[in-house]
């Protein structure tokens, strides 16, 4: 399992490294004289700042390592170290700042760093949690198989629909064609369902486009018609249709959840990576301006 491997890699050896870094940083922070308020400007502050900057650069190197096949160490080892040393960075940077924060570029760099680490923590949680949920949801199937199954059910629905009166046939056909899966960023992450079908509901005359989230309305549409038919064959047809549409409803829920989980597994990186690059920019500004106005 990936989860266990990233956090428990080498029996958590990088957790101990990170802890050591934190303890040393803490001791350095405390060693600042009582007569001088702790800050990034004492010699201890300079050391903590240098360590933090070095950590940032090293942590960024994971992006390079991921793309390289000839580098030292496995990606797994690098990721484990990345996670733990990233957490340690939050400590070293905080000790460096000594809590002296305000409205300036230096504090901005700190807060960007905090967001990067927090997004990293969120990402680590997702990496260790969401794959399990995905596996449970897929029940051993690949997504491609889920869609193949959907295609089969779609065809079965169309076949059953063809036996129905035109109004019902149009509703079934349109509900399949107008089924919404995935979509934009928020549609995928929130599993929003914009499905519709063409039909008349609640005794309205004529056909209109009916919202059909979760396929509930088409099911109700077909179920409402079942008691009215006298033809036994048609009744059987409708009953079977309700059954197939129900299977389809469940399958669509799983597909949407699968897309949602996959989305979240990627989404945090769209925060983590750009903010990390921004952090480098802010760090450069921080260092330049500190020494420019020495």
């Amino acid at each position: 399992m990936i989860t266990a491997n990233v956090l428990t890699f080498g029996r958590g050896r990088y957790a101990w490294v990170a802890l050591l870094v934190l303890v040393i940083s803490w001791a350095l922070y405390l060693s600042q004289s009582n007569d001088v308020p702790a800050s990034g400007g004492t010699w201890q502050g300079y050391v903590l700042g240098t360590v933090s900057a070095a950590l940032i650069v090293w942590l960024m190197a994971l992006g390079i390592r991921k793309r390289s096949y000839s580098a030292v160490g496995s990606v797994q080892a690098w990721t484990s170290a990345h996670v733990y040393l990233g957490l340690a960075l939050l400590g070293t940077a905080s000790f460096h700042s000594a809590g002296q924060l305000g409205w300036n570029v230096h504090s901005a760099a700190y807060w960007i760093l905090v967001f990067v680490v927090v997004s990293g923590i969120a990402g680590t949680w997702m990496y260790t949690t969401l794959p399990n949920w995905t596996a449970a949801n897929r029940k051993g199937q690949y997504r491609k198989e889920l869609f193949s199954e959907l295609a089969e059910i779609n065809k079965a629905c169309l076949d059953l629909g063809a036996e129905c009166p035109p109004e019902t046939e149009l509703a079934i056909r349109s509900s399949i064609v107008n089924t919404s899966i995935g979509g934009g960023v928020l549609d995928q992450l929130l599993a929003r369902d914009h499905s519709t079908f063409v039909g008349a509901v609640d005794g309205a005359s004529g056909s209109t486009l009916v919202r059909n989230p979760g396929q509930r309305e088409i099911l109700r549409f077909v179920a409402d018609r079942a008691p009215r038919v006298r033809d036994g064959k048609e009744a059987n047809n409708l009953a079977e249709l309700v059954s197939v549409l129900s299977r389809r409803q469940e399958l669509l829920r799983r597909i949407r959840l699968d897309i949602q989980l996959s989305g979240w597994l990627r989404a945090w990186l769209y925060v983590h990576v750009p903010l990390a690059v921004t952090l480098i920019s802010a760090l450069v500004v921080h260092i330049i301006t500190v020494f420019m106005y020495w």
Binding site: V36, S39, V105, S180, G182, G184, Q188, S281, T289, Y293
Partner: protein
């Protein structure tokens, strides 16, 4: 002209069906909503997907919303409709085919019932398909950060800065580079203009920036010492940091910083003991703490409370000794005025004030001296008071004033050397009798001069025997004279010489060829300037004596005579007669030692009145610690903590009693008046002032840094090198 829409559907089994629809409008719309000319279903079919517009000469198709149309595989908003083009509408395809006769446009719509192929491909199921880009976001955010926080502030500060010198707008200026708030005073001065202190980029703040305001700041030590202490990087900012939190913090007083020169670890370890604290010269008044506490206060049933007499000043630093009029007089007064009556213990007798016998007619041995040689002399002067007379039977002050008369001085010294008394002249030699005669005429001259102008007489005679150029000021002349009136002297002389009076004496002297002053200058010889004043007593005549009654504590005549005489009152063994010393000794009664003086005024009972010494009546505090190396806040220690008592720190030594008293007998005799309190022990401070204690042991807690000559800066340091 009409158009035709041909809808083609694929039936189960693969057969195709066609439905034709004639349309007579000049607009054909296809989309998902029911109000279109042709309604098509599909997740990717927009409400109003494509709109065909037919005019006389052309047909155009455009998007019915913000979406793009896929026309022959290209994404467009609109396009000319030519024969053979294909427009994708979701899974459906619309083809422009050759119209039948009589129609201007024919559209073949291939309706797709269900998506073909891999179903997933019909949907966007990955974030990668949404147009999100990590790379784009990264570069954009990083660039914006660089531009907003570095480039724009740089440009606004150094390229676009207003010529007026005012700081640019806060959002865009270099103020975003601040590492924290400034001290309020510095903030007021700089007004967000960083360049006030940061004069040169990439160069630490230089002293010149500080000294533009702090121009009078004192240094810690001479450049030579600073150099010896290896303080080569010697800038204000070495100790004074800015942009701190809290912003009021400006000084680094770390032990390790000071310890680079002062080599000890802390107050508790290695710091020198406080041998001089309280300093040896703190006592200005002789006050026996032990007898006052143990005897006098107990007998009178009073509590002995330190701060009744030692009240804290406004700075909180000093427990100043209160003055006589506020405290001592409660016991050492007569209960009605500030005359220090009870202070005059004389044995068991309490004397309520004493006179100074300023002048006394000598009890001249008239039987041994021919009258023709001395002229008029009161016969009953033998009844003159014997109080306060010197060796020659005249008062000491008379003796001093006579010594200023060049005709008398040699005779005076000879007679004093021969121990002759004017009241016993039977055994006097003829030469001594000549000297006596000389002195008698000198006394007459003195009396006539005093009657003419006593202030002038005293000043001119003192000036004559005083080696200092200008020993007395105008107001001091008045003080020295005790404000005696010429009229009083005249009346007194007239009383003593009833037959002739002052005029007769003047005539007598004139007949001898002595030039004596007329009494026309009166009492206006010296006037008291401005708002100054002197406190003097009263004069009276008693048995051929002119006496001065001391006014009370701090009598100006007493003070002035003692101060004037003191520098000249050191006796040299075997040396010439010292008339100054005689007067001084009588007024101060120095021979009895400090604390025992019973002479007129009794100044020496409590004050250090020593011949040759500069008389310090009271200790004055010239400054409040800013120039002192060490400071101590009594308020913070006694009031704030509420637990400290004076005796916790100010303890009596082994030789002493409860609190303090005069030091040993020898020291009392020497008159140094050393405080008998033990120096405050270092441990009494380091008990709280230590690294683990409740109070800081930082050097600057008690010490001031800038205490030496004006700050000389690096240049001086370099020149010293």
């Amino acid at each position: 002209m009409s158009s035709v829409l041909i809808r083609q559907a694929v039936e189960r089994g693969g057969s195709k069906t066609f439905q034709d629809q004639q349309i007579d409008t000049d607009e054909i719309s296809i989309g998902a909503s029911a109000d279109n000319t042709l309604m098509l279903q599909g997740a990717s079919v927009e409400q109003r997907h494509a709109v065909f517009r037919i005019s006389d000469d052309a047909v155009q198709v455009r998007s019915g919303g913000k979406h793009k149309l896929t026309v022959d595989s290209s994404e467009v908003s609109q396009a000319d409709v030519d024969l053979g083009i294909e427009i994708k509408i979701g899974p459906h395809t619309v083809s422009v085919i050759r119209p039948p006769q009589g129609f201007s446009l024919a559209l073949l719509v291939e309706v797709s019932d269900a998506p073909d192929g891999d179903l997933e491909e019909n949907y966007r199921t990955s974030l990668l398909q949404t147009g999100l880009s990590k790379r784009w976001a990264s570069w954009t955010l990083a660039a914006v950060t660089l531009i907003v926080t570095l480039l724009i502030p740089l440009a606004s500060t150094y390229l676009w800065a207003p010529e007026s010198g005012e700081p640019p707008a806060p959002v865009l200026s270099d103020i975003v580079w601040t590492t924290g708030d400034l001290h309020a005073a510095h903030q007021t001065h700089t007004q967000d203009n960083c360049a006030v202190c940061h004069e040169t980029l990439f160069t630490p703040v230089q002293d010149s920036a500080c000294e533009s305001c702090h121009e009078r700041t004192l240094d810690h030590a001479t450049p030579e010492l600073m150099l010896a202490g290896d303080m080569t990087d010697y800038r204000c900012a070495q100790c004074h940091g800015e942009h701190n939190e809290p912003s009021s913090w400006l000084i680094a007083g770390a032990v390790e910083r000071c310890g680079s020169c002062h080599e000890f670890d802390s107050l508790g370890e290695g710091h020198p003991d406080f041998t001089g604290y309280p300093s040896a010269d703190t006592a200005s008044v002789l006050f026996d703490h032990v007898t006052h506490q143990g005897t006098h206060y107990t007998e009178t049933n009073h509590d002995f409370i330190c701060d009744e007499c030692h009240q804290r000043d406004r700075s909180g630093q000093f427990q100043l000794t209160t003055d006589f009029e506020s405290m001592c007089i409660n016991c050492h007064g007569d209960g009605q005025s500030d005359v220090p009556s009870k202070i005059f213990h004389h044995g068991d007798q309490i004397v309520t004030g004493k006179h100074i016998t300023f002048f006394s007619m000598p009890r001249l041995d008239l039987r041994s001296i021919p009258e023709e040689q001395i002229g008029i002399w009161p016969a009953d002067s033998r009844k003159a008071s014997r109080t306060g007379l010197g060796r020659l039977d005249v008062t000491h002050i008379t003796q001093l004033l006579l010594s200023a008369d060049p005709e008398v001085a040699p005779a005076l010294d000879r007679l004093l050397g021969a121990r002759v008394k004017l009241s016993k002249l039977r055994r006097a030699t003829p030469e001594q009798m000549e000297d006596v005669v000389s002195i008698v005429w000198g006394i007459k001259r003195l009396l006539v001069e005093l009657a003419a102008n006593p202030q002038k007489t005293i000043e001119s005679r003192l000036r004559r025997v005083h080696p200092v150029d200008s020993p007395v000021t105008g107001i001091e002349v008045i003080a020295l004279s005790g404000e005696i009136r010429a009229e009083f002297v005249r009346e007194t002389v007239n009383l003593w010489f009833p037959e002739t009076g002052v005029a007769g004496l003047r005539e007598e002297l004139a007949a001898r060829g002595d030039a004596v002053a007329e009494d026309d200058e009166g009492d206006e010889y010296r006037t008291i300037p401005g708002e100054e004043w002197v406190q003097t007593g009263t004069w009276d005549e008693d048995k051929f004596s002119i006496r001065y009654q001391v006014s009370g504590h701090a009598d100006d005549m007493m003070r002035s005579w003692l101060e004037t005489l003191s520098p000249l009152s050191l006796r040299v063994e075997g040396g010439p007669e010292n008339h100054h010393a005689e007067v001084f000794e009588v007024l101060a009664e120095v021979e009895k030692g400090p604390g025992k003086a019973t002479g007129p005024g009794r100044c020496g009972k409590c004050h250090f009145v020593e011949p040759g010494a500069e008389l310090l009546w009271s200790r004055t505090i010239d400054h409040y610690g800013e120039l002192e190396h060490t400071r101590f806040d009594h308020t913070a220690h006694v009031n704030a903590s509420g637990v400290l008592e004076c005796a916790n720190c100010h303890t009596q030594g082994e030789a002493g009693g409860l609190l303090a008293r005069l030091t040993s007998e020898e020291e009392s005799q020497s008159g140094t008046g050393l405080s008998s309190f033990e120096p405050v022990s270092r441990e009494s401070c380091s008990g709280c002032h230590n690294p683990a204690g409740s109070a800081s042991d930082g050097c600057l807690t008690c010490h001031n840094y800038h205490v030496t000559e004006p700050h000389s800066g690096i240049l001086a340091l370099e020149s010293a090198r």
